[in-house]
């Protein structure tokens, strides 16, 4: 089922003194989540992504705007009538019930004409347990499970009532690094298998990029950019999005456009047709650096970290905002460790110019679309 957010706004009354302004958690969020897709809500903590999830779920009521599931307006519908499955950050598995009882719990709530027979309930529980591969754990209690297993049980409990929408709040934050990789594949697989429209919240950009069909980048309650992960990575609309996506993070410089050329300090780095003379922020992805003797960007080498497949070159440049700039270079290049200066050429599609004030991305030569 598609989910439509129409100018969704949520403000919380400020606590304490009366004259302070209300806190705007989510500001005018409009977006249509297509049916059967996996959507990642991404942003730093406090950006309003969890509030958005809670509003879709029905645990919070928007202060403005409308919310639709398909064609049905669910804005005023309480959570239990929306038919959503929710996986909480700490899983919220009932500790005194076994895995089976936990999964059966939502089914046992059904009343009246929706009431299921015992056999049907057990069968449904078995099916969903098979889907997330926890069949052999059915008689254990949550405390006897590992974090990853608890996660699966929580997903099973959310799926057992065949929800039209599945919501996951920071689903991987409580898992260790290895399990995180495995579980995110798992979530992707389960979502594909069931075809349920799924929205999940995360502050980890890698997590969002790796499994989402679409990502929504938020900041201070305002949606920054919506798009396919690769699109957003390749064409960030502003400096914030550029900085938020990517590991290692993008390198930011203070630059100047003069005579259709971008200058980083003394170095003419790039031809910038169509951009008039001005000061700009410049972002260069770590993989955008090419090692060239005659490259225009002159940096001072500080360290080389060999990582096997490629190496990470740490250097400094007077125009860089950060104390060091990090570039990823294929490891078949040879760098003399005692060489001081290092010269880079820049891949044009890995460098972005942002307006000095608004921080909005400036299209270079009309080649950058957005």
């Amino acid at each position: 089922m598609k989910i439509v957010l129409q100018n969704i706004t949520k403000t919380f009354p400020s606590r304490g003194k009366k004259n302070t302004e209300d806190v705007v958690a989510v500001n005018d969020f409009t977006f249509e989540i297509p049916d059967g897709k996996l959507i990642g809500l991404l942003g730093p903590s406090g950006c309003g992504k969890s509030t958005t999830l809670n509003m879709i779920c029905g645990l919070e009521k928007p202060t403005g705007g409308r919310l639709f599931f398909g064609d049905q307006d669910v804005t005023d519908l309480p959570a239990e009538k929306r038919g959503v499955g929710m996986v909480f950050q700490n899983y919220a598995l009932y500790p005194h019930l076994t895995v089976k009882q936990n999964i059966l719990f939502p089914l046992q709530n059904l009343k009246g004409k929706d009431k299921l027979s015992k056999d049907t309930m057990l069968q449904r529980a078995q099916e969903v347990a098979a889907l997330v591969q926890i069949e052999e754990l059915m008689d254990r209690r949550p405390s006897e499970l590992s974090g990853g297993q608890q996660q699966r049980v929580a997903i099973a409990r959310a799926l057992v009532k065949l929800p039209s929408v599945l919501l996951l709040d920071e689903p991987l934050s409580n898992l260790d690094a290895r399990l995180r990789l495995q579980t995110r594949e798992e979530i992707r697989k389960i979502q594909r298998a069931t075809g349920i429209t799924t929205v999940f919240v995360t502050h980890d950009q890698e997590e969002a990029m790796s499994i989402s069909d679409l990502i929504v980048v938020m900041r201070s309650g305002v949606v920054q950019q919506i798009g396919k992960p690769q699109e957003v990575y390749d064409h960030p609309v502003n400096l914030f999005v550029a900085q938020f996506l990517g590991t290692p993070p993008i390198n930011v410089f203070e630059g100047k456009v003069q005579g259709e050329t971008l200058w980083l300090g003394e170095d003419p780095v790039l031809k910038t047709p169509g951009i008039h003379n001005q000061d700009v922020w410049v972002g260069i992805r770590p993989e955008g650096f090419l090692l060239r003797e005659d490259g225009p960007l002159h940096c001072t080498l500080s360290a080389v970290e060999v990582m096997g497949r490629d190496m990470s070159v740490v250097s400094t440049h007077p125009s860089a905002v950060t104390p060091s700039i990090r570039s990823i270079i294929a490891s078949d290049h040879v760098i003399h460790p005692d060489s001081k200066d290092i010269h880079f050429a820049i891949k044009p599609n890995k460098i972005f110019l942002f307006h000095k004030e608004t921080q909005v991305c400036l299209p270079v030569g009309g080649s950058v679309s957005q």
């Binding site: 779920c57 029905g58 645990l59 239990e80 929710m86 700490n90 009932y94 005194h96 719990f105 709530n109």
Partner: protein, 295 residues
Amino acid sequence: MKNNKKAWLYLLPALLFLGVFMIYPLIDVFIYSFEEGYNFASQTKFGTGLYNYSYVLHDPYFLQAIQNTFILAAITVPISTGLSLLIAVGLSKIKPLRQLYQTVYFLPYVTNTLAVGLVFMVLFQTTEYSDGLVNLLINWFGGSSVDFIDGPYWAKMLVLCLYTIWIVMPFKILILTSALASVNEEYYKAAKVDGTSALRTFTKITLPMISPMIFYLVITGCIGAFKAYSDAVALFGTDLNAAGMNTIVGYVYDMLYGDSGGYPSYASAAAIILFVIVLTITCINLLVSRRHVHH
């Protein structure tokens, strides 16, 4: 081994204190209970055997005390725990003025027992001028006055139970309120998303979550009820045997110091019987809780 010695050294003050004031008296009481006609002053006895137990168990006053104590425990423990749970749930649901209500409900705990006794006097005692507030109410609805302090057994027991419940409730409310507050909010959110009814949320989530605390309150409540004494004195005066409202601890006390006092052997036997009763009930509680309490 050296560390071990040090550990014992550190434990010594506490052990000495416990030994002198807890363990030695316990053993002593156990020994007295088998020594017939023991006399503190002359340190003499007639003989050794089970006579003390036989005497106590045939003493109508003791049997009355046992009956009173059992009735008191059976009535006050479930009612006070249940009411406290109800009030604690209510308190946790109220948003405005919650702090104020929590304070108000805790006040009786820090109020002087005598002050509470005084209030109960106003409520129940018959004086030259009135029959007490409760009788006033009974008269209002067309009933005739009941003497709650010197009257029929059930009336006196009612007052004693009410008094006990009133005294023990603040502590239980406090414990349960904090137990309720410690249940993670996420469980309730999960239950809400799954469309769980309020009743089912309470019985299937809240109750199991706070069951260790309820169990703790039932055990301490039982032990407290079996040790009841001062409440009865506050209401019916020191001659509890005459009032027919004695408790086991009251009987022990009377045997030691009361008008019929000076019988440490009987007192010891009664104390050991009380000990066995409390131990048995606590064991039963533990067995029951194995099945129903989720830790």
